[in-house]
Every structure is written in structure tokens, then in C-alpha cells.
Symmetry: C2
Subunit: 295 residues, 2 copies
């Protein structure tokens, strides 16, 4: 049976690692903060004092940290995984980070005889806690098949997209669609409200036709009923759109509405509201219009 490792025990990583522990696996855990390491240890996880130590003791290591530089530090920083990893081990990065950096990391690990998957998730804290995450995976299919039983402890909709970085690319594409559809619904409902129509009836009518989307359904309702408790926080979506816009620049690609959506998130953040749900993007448009959607 594989010796597992899990690095990064935040609001996502802690419940995800917890599912692996609860399933009876040996899981070597590390986080920069001692508390979650301690907590998981009382439930049977094996505490480690560095990423290096996790690498020495495990042969499938999951990473769940905030951003690209954090993954780089976990892998290649002082006392990092690379110092401890054994040839033949598998590194599974479940963080949402740059697809371009991911391809570079995979190349360096491959040169060391280490296999890698990128496996970002969507579904948020609730999905992590209920083991219902969607998992988008890039990397060799035989490595995917080897890790799949562990993914199934953490998620439901588990899809192999393609080679190294393609999981991250898919996640970025997902976040582009979500942000821009929120923006679409915000412009439409604000237009309707400002023109004097009832946004409740407009939303209901639009849901019956070609404009239907889960975002019109759920976030349209949030905008009408002013329910901006997170959900998915604006500051996290800002991070994801930053990945999109940076990659677009590197790839030679123009994403005009992604750029505007990011600026609207920035405007809401400028009001000190970056911890609101991403549907609160509508607040920036409302400020520009000097009008609030009335349900």
C-alpha cells in the first residue's frame, strides 16, 4: 500500500487530507502552521517537520497551497520536497496555479525520475469537506490511473484532460467562464432594474430560454436578494483571473472581457470587499450606474 504525503492543510487541504486519513491510508502531513498538523495527527496522520521529510517518507505526495510561488517553494525551496523525493515517486499538485509554471515544474521533476500530475479542483470548501470536488487532471494517463483511487476519496467529477499543465489550463478556463458569466448576469439584471423592469421576473423569464446558466440561477438570485456572503471569495477569483491574464500575455492571446472582469473585481476590492462572494462583482457596476438592483 502506498505511503501518502499531504502538504498544505488550509481550509481546502485539511479536509482533503482528512478524507485520506479516514479511509485508513498512511498520510505524512506538513503545513507551515503547526496547528493543523497537530490536529490531523490526533486522527492518525503522521506529522512531519518539513516538505523534505514528507518526500523522504512518502511515494505519492499531494500538494494544496495557495499560489504558484508557494508550490515552487514546496518543491524546490530549502528543505523542499525535491531534497527528499525518491525516484519513482508521484507528486500531485492540487493547487490552482500557472499552467506554464506547472509545465516547467513537471520537466524538472521528470528529470529527477519523479512523476507529476496537476490536479486543480473546483467546488470550494464545501466540496472539500463533502468530498464532492471536481478534479481536472493533467499528466500521463498511467499516472492518473494510479492516483485515481485517492482522487475518488476527495471528489466526484474526476476528469483526465491531457498532458502536464492541462489540468491547470482547464481550471483557468473554468474560472474565465464563471467570472464572465457573472459579469453577463450583472450587466443584464442591472440593465433591467435601471430600465424599471422587475429583475425577479426578468431572471425567471431568461432561465426558460437560451440565456440559461447555473450562474444566472444561483448568482442572479444572490444579486437580487443581496446575499454576498461567501461562497467563493473575490480575492480568490482575482488570483485565478491573474493566472488567466498572465498566461494570456505569455501565450500571445487577448482576453478583453476577462481583463474587464478583473478590473471590476479590483474595484470591489478597493472598497474593502474582497472577502465577499464573487457575485458581488455587481457592486462595481452598480457604483458606476449609481443604481442598486431592486428585487
Amino acid at each position: 500500500m502506498a505511503e501518502l504525503g499531504f502538504i498544505g492543510l488550509g481550509i481546502m487541504g485539511k479536509p482533503m487530507a482528512g478524507h485520506l486519513v479516514a479511509a485508513g491510508h498512511t498520510v505524512h502531513v506538513y503545513d507551515v502552521r503547526p496547528e493543523p498538523v497537530k490536529e490531523l495527527s490526533t486522527r492518525g496522520a503522521r506529522p512531519c517537520r518539513s516538505c523534505k521529510e514528507v518526500g523522504q517518507k512518502s511515494n505519492i505526495i499531494f500538494i494544496m497551497v495557495p499560489d504558484t510561488p508557494d508550490v515552487e517553494a514546496v518543491l524546490f525551496g530549502p528543505d523542499g520536497l525535491a531534497e527528499g523525493l525518491r525516484s519513482g515517486s508521484i507528486v500531485v499538485d492540487m493547487s490552482s496555479i500557472s499552467p506554464i509554471a506547472t509545465k516547467e515544474f513537471a520537466k524538472k521533476l521528470t528529470a529527477m525520475g519523479v512523476k507529476m500530475l496537476d490536479a486543480p479542483v473546483s467546488g470550494g470548501q464545501v466540496g472539500a469537506e463533502n468530498a464532492t470536488l471536481s478534479i481536472m487532471v493533467g499528466g500521463p494517463v498511467e499516472v492518473f490511473n494510479e492516483v485515481k483511487p485517492y482522487f475518488e476519496r476527495m471528489g466526484k467529477n474526476i476528469v483526465h484532460i491531457g498532458g502536464h499543465g492541462d489540468g491547470q489550463t482547464c481550471k483557468v478556463a473554468n474560472q474565465i467562464v464563471v467570472a464572465l458569466t457573472i459579469e453577463a448576469v450583472a450587466e443584464a439584471l442591472l440593465f433591467a432594474s435601471k430600465a424599471g423592469a422587475d429583475p425577479v421576473k426578468v431572471r425567471a423569464a431568461l432561465l426558460g430560454g437560451f440565456a440559461q446558466s447555473r450562474i444566472l440561477e444561483l448568482h442572479g438570485e444572490r444579486m437580487i436578494h443581496r446575499k454576498f456572503d461567501p461562497g467563493f471569495r473575490i480575492r480568490l477569483h482575482q488570483k485565478d483571473l491573474n493566472l488567466a491574464l498572465q498566461a494570456a500575455r505569455s501565450l500571445g492571446l487577448s482576453l478583453p472581457n476577462t481583463a474587464t472582469a478583473q478590473e471590476l473585481f479590483n474595484a470591489v476590492a478597493a472598497q474593502g470587499s474582497s472577502d465577499l462572494d464573487h457575485s458581488a462583482m455587481v457592486l462595481a457596476l452598480e457604483k458606476l450606474a449609481n443604481h442598486t438592483i431592486k428585487g
Copy 2:
């Protein structure tokens, strides 16, 4: 039984009027071109030589013409409806036009003792031919109830939104959501393709999560399989976004992504492709990126 009138017998109006004729109603018809008037007459419609004559002979008159100035000409131009309309008659404008102009037209007709509904549709030529149109209605609810049996000959999803103009406002909101969701899907699939991921797998993965929409499903597939036969033509969506942007300016409202979507439609039109399906908006982004989505 009501004497019906129908003005505007184009690719939408002709089948819509045809359903009323086929249901056994007396329908007085007029179009600026003689051919469809002749054709419907052979099926039992009563031909008229002017809008005025339709107004004189009917008490519920449907209008289905391209744009705001056309409706104004039908109503208030020389030999227009206003010269023939009887007090107590009902004018039902099913064209997609300016919500602001609609409110003015309703005011003028009301002053003449004539009732009005705005009742724009979505569903296109196929919806008109199969009597499956969505109909979004503005105007007094008792007038809506009086006309509803006739709407049911032409459509399926028939919703009373609110007062005069609110049907048009709802239609504009619908077209904003549709255009901006097409744009969202285009940016995301182009990003995925340019980053080297398979857009077929990315689309499939996204359909299983929060990014789901009918547009991702149908137009995402069109973009991947390069099927840009209309469907709904770019030049018609340009007209609808023009209504959105003009109304936004009048209302004091900023619609940044609607403006960009219109510019992208303009760019595709500049290539002589304004008769392609609106999903062909992706062609403008592909040109900017010097890259074509590969499925």
C-alpha cells in the same frame, strides 16, 4: 370573435401570422412587399394595401418588423396604423425594439384610446415556424390576458414581465446575457486551445460544474466544430446590442462587456461575415490571437 391584424410578414412574421390563419382566425395582413401578402391570402388571410387599412378592419393588431424606426413608421407614418385605429383596439408589437421608444409609443396610443403591449420574442425562425417562441410581454395585465390565447398559437414560454416597455427590456437583457456568455465561452476555449489543451475535453469538464450553460453546450460545440451556419445572425445581434448600448447611455448605465462584445461583432462584420451565426464572435478573438481553436 376578434378581427386580427398582422403587419410585417418577413421570416418571423409570415409563419407567426400563418399560425393565426391556420387556427381559423380572420387575419388582415399587410407588408411593404406584395409577395407574402399574396401568399398568406391564398391560405385565407385578408390582404390590405396599407397599415391604415389593417387598423380600420382589425381590433387586435400584431406588428413584427425589424427595428424601432420601422415600428414608428407602421404606427405613426403616412397611411400608418394611427390613421385607421379604432378606440379600444389593441396594438401588440412583437418586434425587438428600444424599450424607451416603446414607452413613448404606448403613451401616444393610450392618449388615442388604444391599448398596447410590447411582446418581443426569442427562438428565431425555427421557433416562429414551430410555434415554440418565448414571448416576453410588457403592458397592462388585463390586456395581456385578452391577447394570451393568440400568443399561445405562436409560442410556448409566454411571460408577463410588467408595464409598458418591460417586455422589450427583458428581451434586451436576454440578448446581453447571450452575447456575453458567447464571449465568455470563446475566451475560455481559445485560452485552452492556445495553451495546448484539448478544447473538447475542457468543454466536457466545464459542463459538469458551475460553468455550465446552454451556450457552453451548444455554441461551445459550434466553436470547436467550426459550424457557423446561422442560427442567429451576427447582424441581428448587433442590432440588439445597439439597443442595449443606446438605452444604457440614456438611462445612465455603464455596460463595459456589452460594449466589447459589440466591438467583436463589428470586427467579424468587418470581415464580411455578419451573416454567420453569433457564435462566430470567436473569429474576432482568434484573429487577435493569431490562433484557431482546434478540436
